[in-house]
Symmetry: C2
């Protein structure tokens, strides 16, 4: 496969090339770091909005309407739907994604579903890589939606410039248990299905909680929406734009500061080493160790501690 050509096609606007590159990166193809390096200069223009919250909060519908609002203003949109508990990935369509059919035929909207299966280097890292591909592809806005509010989802949200936490009026208990993590990451709270009882009460509760938190110049708003009718979606978009303007003034960027680049370097290095070690094992580089493991004269952990100290063995194994 000619990866360079695939990248060129993608950069020229070929959606199928984009999809193929996503699959390569998800599967941890040997050329992953080469691909990411080649697109790097084309990244940094897209703005990433994350949507997270408990299942059933109506996130997919909200993302759908938010996409519509962005499209109405002429922006192109990439959508990454992350479901850590789903065995489906890649081209597969999540149940909720069916609702996105309004935009399915819109050439300016690219939708990608991801799951644990498609995450060679951890779901949050793979999500970031998929986002980079959409960024290089030229999407103005990238919406990342997660299902649930577990640690995986919180990690995934680190890719976002603006994180929208979506709740429903009945989510009182969820807030109690999750509040630390959710309060930490929320730039905007949305109480969706706001026609239901308790919407205002949860809004007031959230606002009270938020007041106890020191703000670094951005006061987290709590908005009421009804995604199904579109109520409140324009206000949400305005608040996202406000947050964006505030971040830009403050010089904040989720994916391009030095700390993120250093972390990304270390992760890429780990991944590259892991990939090369696996390939070395395939071609028999650890035949000795494997023999001893088979005979039971050494255990796997002791063997690892021994091998890591043998710099010539490691150097040999890392050679491609």
């Amino acid at each position: 496969m000619n990866v360079e050509k695939l990248v060129d096609q993608m950069l020229a606007g070929d959606r199928r090339a984009l999809a193929r590159l996503m699959t390569l990166v998800e599967n941890g193809h040997p050329a992953t770091n080469t691909i990411l390096s080649r697109i790097h200069a084309h990244c940094g223009q897209a703005y990433v909005v994350g949507f997270t919250g408990p299942p059933g909060a109506g996130k997919s519908t909200l993302v759908d309407r938010f996409t519509g609002a962005l499209r109405a203003r002429g922006y192109s949109v990439g959508i990454v739907a992350v479901d850590p508990s789903s065995p489906f990935s890649g081209g597969a369509v999540l149940g909720d994604r069916i609702r996105m059919q309004a935009h399915y035929l819109d050439e300016s909207v690219f939708i990608r579903s991801m799951s644990t299966r498609g995450s060679h280097g951890g779901l949050s890292r793979t999500t970031r890589q998929i986002v980079e591909l959409l960024d290089a592809f030229g999407k103005n806005f990238i919406l990342v939606e997660t299902v649930g509010v577990g640690q995986t989802e919180l990690d995934v949200m680190r890719v976002a410039d603006t994180t929208v936490v979506v709740l429903v009026p009945e989510a009182g208990d969820t807030i109690q248990t999750m509040k630390a993590g959710l309060l930490e990451i929320a730039d905007i709270f949305v109480v969706n299905k706001a026609d239901r009882e308790g919407a205002n009460r949860i809004k007031v509760e959230l606002e009270a909680m938020l007041q106890l938190r020191p703000t670094a110049g951005w006061a987290v708003p709590v908005l009421l929406t009804r995604a199904i009718t579109g109520d409140g979606v324009e206000t949400l978009l305005e608040k996202v734009m406000e947050h964006r303007a505030w971040r830009e003034k403050a010089g904040l960027r989720a994916r391009s500061n030095a700390a993120v680049r250093q972390e990304e370097f270390l992760l890429a290095l780990e991944e590259e080493i892991a990939r090369r070690l696996a390939a070395a094992a395939e071609r028999g580089a650890f035949a000795d160790v494997f023999d001893r493991l088979r005979q039971g004269t050494i255990d796997p952990y002791r063997a690892a501690l021994e091998v890591v100290e043998q710099s010539d063995v490691i150097a040999d194994a890392l050679r491609t």
Copy 2:
């Protein structure tokens, strides 16, 4: 911290030492591989039974009753509850775990909840390590319960000698979508809440599906249970024992064959390298690269590809 002493205390039956070792391993403590190597000779006696299935299938109650049945026969039990979507871990008690209170004060039952947060090297790998600790601690049976049926959960089940897939009569659709993965891993199917409508229909459907699958000497049974009343739990235990006897006759062991040991070695090696690289970065081993990343004269992926080729830099970084 004296890790050797902690291991000795654990091997002598100290539950608190066991819990502390679990936390160290979950957090990827530098001594992880040393700990695992030290307990390795004490492992291999426990039998691991996995319980998986969609949320709401009553797995926790079933595990609770199954534990009771094992205890009634004098076996000691370790329970690992794995929830990939939960931000809680370690000593924390999952909602469902509260039902386990019947066994909470039983010294012969040790319960551990795990989540993504507590999984430095991936959830399935950390689960295996927690299982090894319980095995070395001397538990006769270790029950691993997952929430949901995503890829993460399927991976977690690889640690099990016998995998029980728990469904409910209403799970028809779930089966359709999940059937490939579930059929692949199930050694025993359980239709729980079997008093509900459709229980027999789903049993017949499952049996029909199973007949299309080539068996390697073990015919996967479909059992009906009502965990809440205990109905069918004794039969389940008998079937697990039958499967165990069949496996032992066939020479199968989930955690101790050569292939597993080789995989474990490679994973331990990767983890050890990742840990040492992170420590090296902390002490400034990559100051050069970090400067160039800050200046933007190199991207993280190109930098990783460069560094991996410099065997002296790698060897230096891997030194502790």
